[in-house]
């Protein structure tokens, strides 16, 4: 389905995750963040880049992985993306919701 994010028509799934990463840029990320009342800072972007890098290397994402990322610790991760940090941050990053749950 299509959704208007940052004044552009973007392809997303029912949960609002981008289905085509090539449509992503920081403006889109910012737009999605605002829906969760998050104002993006440099630290937020650093985490987003880490997640995108992991995704492109096809490495699974998990809260545990965050602990070892060297970018951020889990407490900070929760502070930056309150609620479900992994779910919210991957949505902002334009990548699929992690399937760490099998």
């Amino acid at each position: 389905m299509k959704k208007l994010i940052a004044n552009r028509e973007i392809d997303v799934n029912e949960e609002g995750y981008l289905t085509d990463f090539t449509q992503w840029d920081r403006e889109i990320g910012k737009g999605i963040a605002e829906e969760s009342n998050i104002t993006m800072t440099d630290k937020h972007w650093e985490v987003i880049e880490y997640l995108q890098d992991k995704y492109h290397k096809e490495e699974p994402l998990s809260v545990r992985g965050i602990k070892k990322s060297g970018v951020i610790d889990i407490k900070e991760f929760y502070n930056l993306f309150p609620g479900g940090p992994l779910k919210i941050s991957t949505k902002i990053a334009g990548i699929p919701k992690p399937k760490s749950c099998i």
Binding site: P60, V63, R64, I74, Y78, G83, K99, C101, I102
Partner: protein, 412 residues
């Protein structure tokens, strides 16, 4: 003479020994299986042990009984795998060389991963039921427990048999009802997932059952620590859940051997091709069962289906042919729902559990994603099937290695 070495004589390793001994020419291949433990546990039985449904003797046997004749069985600890040198080092520095290696070292609980979990209250007010010791200690506790807040908790995914904690909650409901003390017990199900299960349709069905049985749910709970002094678990978002009795599924990790050998991911699971079951890093190393990092359930049924695929691919590999037997992630799990009923789910990498009939389309006798007695009988019968058919590599009638879509109500 060439050497095929299997590490681990649990469900997957034992099945592979039984499969391959029938297929590999004896004058060309020697099969060796190595495991440090004498006892083979029927792990699905650990769910029933705490509720006095199974006895200790029903869940364990001497492992050697299930290793076929013609297979060299070594009961020793494995110190190291050196995949670059094609060798395995055992305790006392004994070296075993291999041409082909199958890693089936499974997964186990790691309660040390969470602060306060394996502390002074471990197996006193905090229990696991994923180990024989844990399940037995919990049984003894439940026999005399007078009630209070029971919290059934999952630490992090993936875990072996992801439905087991739900089954535990359901069986606990029945158990306390039968003891006439359900009104004294408050049951809460706490999970890091956003629902009762990992797949949408099954989550819906299982959520209904939780509601029906008066079990409350706390979702999206990522535990940070156990405060065993004040009887509560605390998550990273600072949500707290109080307990009197905590039954947790700790972090599940691959064997420490995998970490020592530098072959695993963050959780010591081995990166494995999800279709061929060949390890991603070494072409003469194959991985099966819970030891893999495959995106499917860690369960005995999965190991059973994988074993059929792996047998084919090992034979192809030996002949130098392409590994074209392809595993689809097939899992088949009975879910005990209490009161002598169960539901059944059958799914794979792409198809989530749906309603339908199983194993024979349109007939059953078992029903998918619906509670009934026949499914429960199936689950109990499975213990016999496990010891007498599954471990011996005997195919289960009507159930193929790759999932069948027949009899399933699949929406277009």
């Amino acid at each position: 003479m060439k050497n095929l070495v299997i590490l681990g004589a649990g469900t997957a390793g034992t099945m592979m020994a039984n499969h391959l001994v029938k297929k590999l020419p004896k004058n060309e291949w020697q099969i060796t299986i190595i495991d440090q433990y004498k006892t083979h546990y029927y792990q699905p039985g650990f769910l029933f042990l705490p509720f006095d449904i199974y006895t200790e003797d029903q869940v364990k046997k001497v492992g050697k009984k299930f290793i076929p004749k013609g297979v060299n069985y070594i009961q020793k600890k494995i110190e190291l795998i050196s995949p670059e040198a094609n060798k395995v080092t055992l305790e006392n520095e004994e070296i075993i060389n291999y041409d082909l290696l199958i890693v089936a070292t499974g997964s186990k609980i790691a309660p040390d991963e969470i602060e306060g979990m394996k502390g002074p209250e471990w197996h006193k007010s905090i229990f696991d039921f994923y180990s024989y010791e844990g399940a037995k200690a919990l049984r003894d506790k439940l026999r005399s427990w007078e009630g209070g807040k029971l919290v059934v908790h999952i630490t992090e995914m993936p875990i072996k048999c992801p439905v087991a904690p739900l089954e535990f909650a359901f069986l606990a409901d029945s158990y306390f009802r039968n003891k006439g003390m359900r009104d004294k017990v408050d049951i809460t199900y706490v999970t890091p997932l956003d629902g009762a299960f990992t797949k949408p349709k099954a989550t819906k069905a299982l959520h209904h059952l939780l509601v029906e049985k008066g079990i409350s749910e706390v979702t999206n709970f990522n535990i940070e620590r156990v405060d065993y002094e004040n009887n509560k678990i605390i998550d990273y978002a600072e949500t707290e859940v109080d307990y009197d009795l905590l039954v947790t599924v700790p972090t599940n990790m691959g064997d420490a051997l995998i970490e020592r050998s530098g072959m695993g991911d963050d959780l010591n699971f081995i990166p494995t091709d999800k279709n061929t079951l060949q390890s991603k890093d070494y072409e003469n190393v194959f991985v099966i069962g819970d030891a893999t990092n495959l995106p499917t359930s860690k369960a005995g049924s999965v190991a059973h289906f994988e074993a059929e695929i792996l047998e084919e691919n090992i034979l192809k590999y030996i002949k130098g042919e392409p590994l074209d037997a392809s595993f689809d992630g097939h899992a088949n799990c009975f879910v005990e729902t209490g009161n002598g009923k169960a539901l059944l789910i059958d799914f794979n990498y792409v198809q989530e559990p749906v309603e339908g009939t199983f194993p024979i389309a349109g007939i059953g006798p078992m029903q998918l994603l619906k509670e009934n007695r026949m499914n429960h009988m199936g689950k109990l019968a499975f213990r016999w099937v496990y010891w007498n058919m599954l471990l011996k590599g005997v195919p289960i009638p009507f159930v193929s290695a790759n999932m069948s879509t027949k009899g399933k109500k699949i929406e277009a």
